[in-house]
Every structure is written in C-alpha cells, then in structure tokens.
C-alpha cells in the first residue's frame, strides 16, 4: 500500500504565528525548516518536529504584510528568515541577527520574487 509520512498542515493567519510557535516550543517541538513559496502572494511553511512527529504551520499573506520573526523563540531561525527575506523580499521584522540582505552574495535584489520588474 501507499506508505508515506502523513502531511499535517495547519493553516494560521500571519498575526497568530508567535502564539502558535510558542505553543509548539513549550510542547518540546524543534523548528525544522521555514520554507517560502511565491505564488499569488507569499506562502510560508514553518515545519516542526518532535519525536518524528512532523507538523507544518502555513501562513498565507500578500507581499506587503509584515510578519513577526520567530527567532526570539528559536534562535537558529535567523538563518532561514534572513534567507527568505533576501531571496523573496518577505518583510520579516525583529530578527535577532539581521544580516540586512547580506547573507548571500547575489547581484539582483530578491531573485526569487521578480514579478514586478518583468
């Protein structure tokens, strides 16, 4: 039979991110990855894991919405958030270590989100 890991995706709104993250953190989950998709707006997926239980928080928002950084709970989130900020131009505020778009050495601004210029 078809046997793959279950996909648990929980949809939340951009302002709920801190509350949901802190709940997961208190439950002992670790942050696995933050992924971003640019398709008719920004779609962020925060993936968490605890004892092989894999959950994703899904945030859908438009390009201008600002989102709070989760790096205050998970310090190591700063790398993911800097990357997303730099490649997609997502507005993430209050990252603990903010590289100000200097993590990657790229010649164009937000290369993964160049719709406006085209």
């Amino acid at each position: 039979m078809y046997s793959m890991e279950e996909q648990k995706i929980i949809k939340i709104s951009p302002d709920e991110i801190l509350a949901e993250t802190v709940d997961l953190k208190n439950a002992g989950y670790r942050l696995v990855a933050i992924s971003c998709v640019n398709k008719d707006g920004i779609e962020l997926s925060y993936s968490f894991d605890k004892d092989y239980d894999f959950v994703h928080l899904r945030v859908n928002m438009d390009y201008d919405t600002e989102i709070e950084s989760v790096s205050c709970f998970y310090q190591y989130a700063f790398l993911y958030e800097n990357e997303i900020k730099e490649l997609f131009g997502v507005k993430i505020k209050n990252i603990t270590v903010d590289f100000n778009d200097n993590l990657y050495r790229i010649s164009v601004k937000t290369p993964f989100n160049m719709k406006e210029e085209e």
Partner: protein, 359 residues
Amino acid sequence: MGKRTVIPFGPQHPVLPEPIHLDLVLEDEKVVEAIPQIGYIHRGLEKLVEKRDFKQYTYVAERICGICSFMHGMGYCMAVEGIMEIEVPERGKFLRTIWAEVSRIHSHLLWLGLTADAFGFESLFMHSWRLREEVLDLFEQTTGGRVIFSVCDIGGVRKDIDAEMLNTMVSVLTRMEKELRDLTDVFLNDMSVKHRTVGVGVLSKEKAQETGAVGPMARASGISVDMRTLGYAAYKHLQFEPITAEAGDSYARMEVRIGEVYQAIELIRQCVELIPEGDVITKIKGNPNGEHFIRLEQPRGEVIYYVKANGTSFLDRFRVRTPTFANVPALLETLKDCDLADVPILILTIDPCISCTER
C-alpha cells in the same frame, strides 16, 4: 580581558573546509564570537525548477551537491511520488537503499580523510581515500557514474543490479571493512589524533537541542535522532539502531561517523539478503498536482524536500533544507571559546557542504 581582534576566515576550496566566510572575533587566542557569511556558490537551483520540467529536474536535483547526489535525486523523486501517489516497486526501493548506504560510506570516508588532513595526518588521509576509491568504482560499475549517478527516477530507479554484482559489492565491502578496522584503530586510539579531537568543540545535549543540530552532530551529543527510522525506502525491513555518542566533542563525532560506516556495510548486507525479484520502476502518467514534504537521512543529517506542483509539467516550488544549513548555528556555538588553531577542525566536524546549503 585581552584586546579584541577580528580575523577573517575563508572562503576556501569547495571540497572542504568549504567556501564559508567567518569573521572570528578573538580575545588573545580564544574565539569569542563567529559571524558567518555564505553566498559564494549560490546557483539558484531552486529557481531553475520553473524553467525545467519535473522529469528533467531529476537530473538537476542530483547536481545540488557532489557527495550526497544520490540522496538529493532520491528525495526529489520521493516528494514527487508523494504528490502523484506512486508506489515504487519493492526491488526499486531496495536498490535505492543500497545506493543510499553506499553513498553514506563514500561520504564518511571522504570526511574521515579530510579530517585526518585537517589535523595534519597526511598518510591517514591517503589511506581513507584509497578505500573510498573502491566505493567509487562500485558506483561506476552499477550506475555508470562516480559521483553523479543519474540513476534515480520518478517511480523507481533506471538501472537494475544483477545478483552477481550484488554479491561482488558485498565481498568488496567486506574486504574494505577489514582494512577499515586498521584505520579505525588509528582514528580512535592514536595518541596524536586524540590530542587534537578529544574535548575539542564540545556541544552539550542541551545546546544541540537549542541550536537545532541534526544528523551525526546531534547524535554525537547524545540525541538519538535518525530519519531512517521513519522507514522510508526499504529501511522498514532492515534492523538497525541509530548510532550515538555522549561526549559531544570532535572525537565523538568521529566515533559516530566511523560507526555509521560499519552500520552502512551491515545494512547493505541485509539488503542483498532480502532484496526481492521484480520490476525496478513504475511508469508514471500525467503531471503532479499538490504539495509534499519529505524527510531523509543524508550522511550529513536530516534533509527536507518540499515540492509544490500545479498540475502542469513545471513545478511551482522546490525547496531543500540541507543538513549543513541546520548545523551552522551549532557550529557557531562550538566555535565559542575554542582556540584559533582548532577552528579548521571544528568547521570540518559538522561535515559542512556549502554547495548544498546555498543551492
């Protein structure tokens, strides 16, 4: 308190110690803080998914990195299979497992050699790579390539290994295992090696959890986390336990990786015994539509693949979160309070792969 000095470290050669740039803030000889900067080999491979159709991208996905190339191809294929709900034939799954484990041996031997080189043990480096050479020959005999295999496809694998070749593989690996015992003795018991690794760069269990370390880095700190226990591919049929160590120093990381080489050889033996006859690939029809997350255990640790498709032959998004990306914060943690002379070894002990990290 001494005077603070900032020493720029790297970027260096893409094999290892990898093109990562660190600004090391020193107080006398001690590192107080390290600030990373990457981006020297960012190729935008994730973006390329919009320009190549999902079947062509199998070959691009493999080329994210030259060491875990098989697993990158496999992870991408598994994610697409997850969307399209394709069941890979059992033989295909076993073959994937065999190649994945051979990749692990190849990667760990490469790493062991480079570590030996980093602490200045040139002949140990040469001998580790001599053993690795035989593994590469096995790859070339079975897949046709030494580092890029182009053998994994959506729905299964493109080439079969016959019974004779499987037995040759086991006998080559058994001989190699014997020779590796001699080298293991040097790695784990030699005074000069221990002098450079024991107690260097200690990452406690709490810190490892706090920094989100994965793979051998986490296992060396006593966290028993191994994605293979999820039972993807043929791992659910195999008997194994994650290898862990308690100390969390460079020596423990070496111990874990050496243990995993033997474990991989044992897993290949089990695979060869259990492998069923039959097809190796299922034919696929249509285009994927949907999204899927996949987790695998690469030689360097846990890796995440995320594919989002829209029903056309071009995917919307392919995302890889590689183990090195997750291990960089742990590296920064171990670098605190270490000696300047230990920095190259510490960077090596996370087994960094910046090509993976930047994609």
